[in-house]
């Protein structure tokens, strides 16, 4: 099977600081990848490289057989990106914003409009289609962002904390959607701190720590390696410089000075 995403010896520096120290990954189509790392581990940098936000890296990145450095435009057509922060032009209405997205992905206007209406309706935003988003809650903006990443029906979907701010029903919708997209042959690259969700939705989990991949396998495989623990515990065991228990103890000790 041809890999849909391939990273070979990817390095990235910010000034003197090396953020990625030789990442090697091969991801096949239809997989749901849970990409996990603590703050500053290099998770966001990997995502930004995959999405074409960072171009000056060392190594080779291939997306759907296209070298990202050689042909970033074609590679970007294959990817749908849903960023962590609700970064959108919120003085626009969802229809205006998503139409712009449709244009940039070269979707025919009628198809884009049809999809926008259907997707907004599915998320319960049918009454807000022509309302400016600066009045929206974080969850409503997140829903628009999710639609913007799916609108062009991409082969690869990169989600960076997609459940942030969503209400309970929408969380269920997104989780179901992820499973359905994967069944449809889409590749999902899912970054999150919400381990319980990652544990449930991912069929392959990758831990990144200090710019390096430190674990790669299914949840069951990780459990076999690290003892029959939850994903949260496994992550803590593999990444924490001091155990989480020690950190909690240190917090408790702060009361002793009284």
């Amino acid at each position: 099977m041809n890999p849909i995403i391939e990273l070979k010896n990817v390095f990235k520096n910010y000034g003197d600081k090396q953020v990625l120290k030789g990442i090697n990954l091969t991801i096949n189509a239809g997989q749901i990848i849970g990409y996990i790392g603590s703050n500053g581990a290099g998770k966001s940098t990997t995502v930004k490289i995959l999405c074409g936000l960072i171009a000056d890296y060392e190594g080779t990145v291939t997306v759907a057989g296209i070298n990202l450095s050689d042909n970033p435009i074609e590679a970007k057509r294959k990817i749908g990106y849903i960023p962590e922060l609700a970064e959108l032009y919120d003085v626009l209405t969802p229809m205006e914003f998503l139409s712009l997205m449709g244009e940039l992905y070269d979707l025919p206007t009628d198809i884009a409009t049809d999809r926008i209406i259907k997707m907004l309706t599915a998320f319960g935003l049918e009454n807000n289609i022509h309302q400016r988003m600066d009045t929206f809650s974080k969850g409503m903006k997140q829903k628009v962002l999710i639609i913007s990443g799916l609108l062009h029906n991409p082969d690869i979907i990169i989600l960076d904390e997609p459940l942030s701010g969503l209400d309970a029903n929408s969380v269920i919708i997104v989780k179901d959607l992820i499973s359905k997209l994967a069944k449809d042959g889409k590749t999902i690259f899912y970054c999150s701190h919400m381990m319980d969700v990652v544990e449930k939705v991912s069929d392959r989990i990758i831990f990144i720590n200090e710019g390096m991949v430190i674990a790669d396998g299914s949840f069951l495989e990780l459990q076999q390696q690290q003892g029959n623990e939850s994903l949260e515990k496994i992550f803590a065991l593999m990444t924490a410089k001091e155990g989480s228990n020690q950190a909690a103890s240190a917090i408790m000790q702060a009361f002793d000075s009284q």
Partner: protein, 568 residues
């Protein structure tokens, strides 16, 4: 309509763009969205007003263009009061370059440093040339809107006074002056980014917006009063003088040379007016823009990560007693009152929302202050000021003293509102026994920030120019200001600071009217007893006692008398 026109013009060379590798469909879509966003983004002039009304902005382009066209009318004044054409056009281009630079800095910088493009446009299959050209055309369209509006009145005036040829030369020179202004702005950005952090750069832009709003108001109020027609009529900037150092003079000289010839010196200056903008564009493209883009990455990156952590760490490591802590120790009691003081002090200093609402209003008051001084400049001689029987001097002094009090009333009226009003939950989950203490601390912090420096300056200046005998009246004036502040706080501050939405109606009409009548009444009473020093001193004492009593009742305010939108 206007945007469609500019978009059409910008896309006229579409064939050329295509040959450069630009995707026209993408370019059009991006520009269209950007222009719609411009239309919904308030300008500095709208921003200071809009914040209080919290209404969605529509047709900001039209508003800005109309405002700029009105402002452009002021540029024409030199054509009617000065005879020498070089002086006329030097003043004209000075106004134009200043206002254009201020407008671009205050209104467009936020667009230039907007990081959302990185997340929205860059991950899409849009090529770099298209993204670059869309940015460039966006800047060109924005600048064109301003330049056309600012100069329309000038072009018509020059056409009527100097004929078609004169107007044509002006039209020819305006783009050169514009290019030079853009160079100045870019150089300023680089300079500011060199001497300060990217985070402070953003804050500085806010101050620029505030300064711009005050400048416009000041120009409107002061310029017509400052013009002394007779003395300006005969004034002409001498040739081979300081004029060469002022870029507007180059463009004025160029106009003169093209219109009716000039000396060799003027021809040399004309060459400068053409060469310098071209050279400046080269400098911008070659050196300044790339440096700016590098710095821009820092600005966009400064929102997250390391920079913030470093600052916080530094803050913890080097924490020492600042002015706020010292004043808090002086004016407040330990506990929740001091917490209210320090919290309000920090919020006033850091809240963009508060600053954008309050500082322009205070700036406008200051402009009025100077207008009053200017109107009464005859009274400002030391002899007249020292003469306590002079009616005019008495009125002027009292007006100044009582006007200063309005600055703090203005500051206090915005104290309750905040965009982050939901953060007021902290008051309700903590075991505060007397919520009035927090309100009292907040009022005292507002007085310390907005009134204390003015009162100190007033005392120093009054003693210097009038003498020690002004002290009793100053004492009464200042104690009355404190009485007014605490009284207004007593009737209107029934909420915690920064705990209400801007849309809430707030203080009622009657309370608002009373807040206005009370200072005016005290001012009039003060006028009648101005020369009876023992009475003045006695009333100052009574006023201070009144202030102390009212401050005490604010502090004792309990949970039943505290209102909150948060709880409603």
């Amino acid at each position: 309509m206007i945007n469609r026109f500019f978009l059409g013009i910008a896309l006229l060379p579409a064939a050329l763009y295509s040959r450069m590798g630009v995707n026209i469909k993408h370019l059009k879509a991006i520009l269209k969205a950007k222009l719609v966003m411009d239309d919904r983004r308030p300008s500095s002039l709208q921003q200071t007003k809009q914040k209080t009304k919290n209404k969605s902005i529509k047709m900001a382009t039209l508003f800005t263009m109309l405002m700029m066209a009105l402002l452009g009318l002021f540029f024409n004044i030199p054509f009617f009061i000065v005879a020498d054409p070089i002086t006329q056009f030097t003043l004209y281009f000075s106004f134009f370059i200043t206002i254009l630079a201020f407008t671009i800095i205050s209104d467009f910088t936020s667009v230039l440093i907007d990081i959302r493009d990185n997340y929205i446009i860059l991950p899409k299959p849009v090529n770099d040339t298209t993204v670059l050209l869309s940015r460039l055309l966006h800047i060109v369209i924005h600048t064109s809107k301003l330049v056309i509006s600012l100069n329309i009145a000038g072009i018509i005036t020059v056409f009527l006074l100097k004929g078609f040829y004169g107007a044509a030369i002006l039209i020819f020179l305006i783009p050169f002056a514009t290019l030079f202004t853009i160079f100045l702005i870019n150089a300023l950005y680089i300079l500011v980014l060199k001497i300060t952090t990217p985070e402070k750069f953003k804050a500085l832009i806010n101050y620029f917006q505030i300064a711009f709003a005050i400048l416009i108001f000041g120009v409107y109020q002061l310029v017509p009063r400052l013009i002394e027609k007779a003395s300006l009529q005969a004034y002409a900037i001498p040739e081979k003088s300081w004029g060469i150092l002022a870029p507007p003079y180059w463009f004025a000289a160029a106009w003169k040379v093209f219109y009716g010839g000039g000396s060799l010196y003027l021809i040399a200056v004309t060459i400068l007016s053409i060469l310098m903008p071209i050279l400046s564009v080269w400098l911008v493209v070659k050196y300044l823009a790339p440096t700016f883009n590098q710095k821009l990455t820092l600005i966009t990156g400064s929102d997250q990560g390391e920079q913030t952590i470093k600052t916080e760490h530094k803050g913890l490591a080097f924490k020492r007693k600042g002015l706020a802590e010292k004043l808090a120790a002086l004016f407040t009691q330990k506990g929740s009152e001091r917490m209210g003081f320090l919290f309000t002090w920090k919020m006033i200093g850091r809240s963009r929302d508060y600053k954008m609402k309050t500082f322009p209003s205070i700036g406008y008051l200051m402009v009025y202050f100077f207008v009053i001084l200017f109107r009464n400049k005859d009274l400002l001689s030391t002899d007249k000021l020292r003469d306590s029987s002079n009616l005019g001097t008495k009125i002027l002094l009292l007006t100044i003293i009582y006007m200063l009090g309005f600055t703090i009333l203005q500051a206090m009226s915005n104290l309750k509102q905040s965009d982050k009003y939901k953060a007021a939950w902290i008051y309700f989950i903590t075991p505060i026994q007397e919520p009035g203490n927090i309100i009292s601390g907040a009022v005292k912090a507002t007085i310390a920030i907005f009134f204390l420096p003015l009162a100190i300056a007033l005392i120093i200046l009054s003693v210097a120019f009038i003498g020690w005998n002004i002290i009793p009246n100053l004492l009464l004036g200042i104690s009355n200001q404190l009485l007014i502040c605490f009284f207004v706080a007593y009737i209107s501050m029934r909420e915690f600071p920064f705990a209400r939405t801007a849309t809430n109606k707030g203080t009622g009409f009657i309370r608002g009217l009373f807040s206005l009548i009370f200072p005016v009444t005290l001012g009039i009473l003060h006028y009648f007893i101005y020369n009876f020093i023992p009475v003045v001193l006695l009333l100052a004492l009574l006023s201070l006692i009144g202030t102390w009593l009212i401050a005490g009742s604010i502090k004792r305010r309990d949970w039943n008398s505290v209102q909150s939108e948060y709880r409603e």
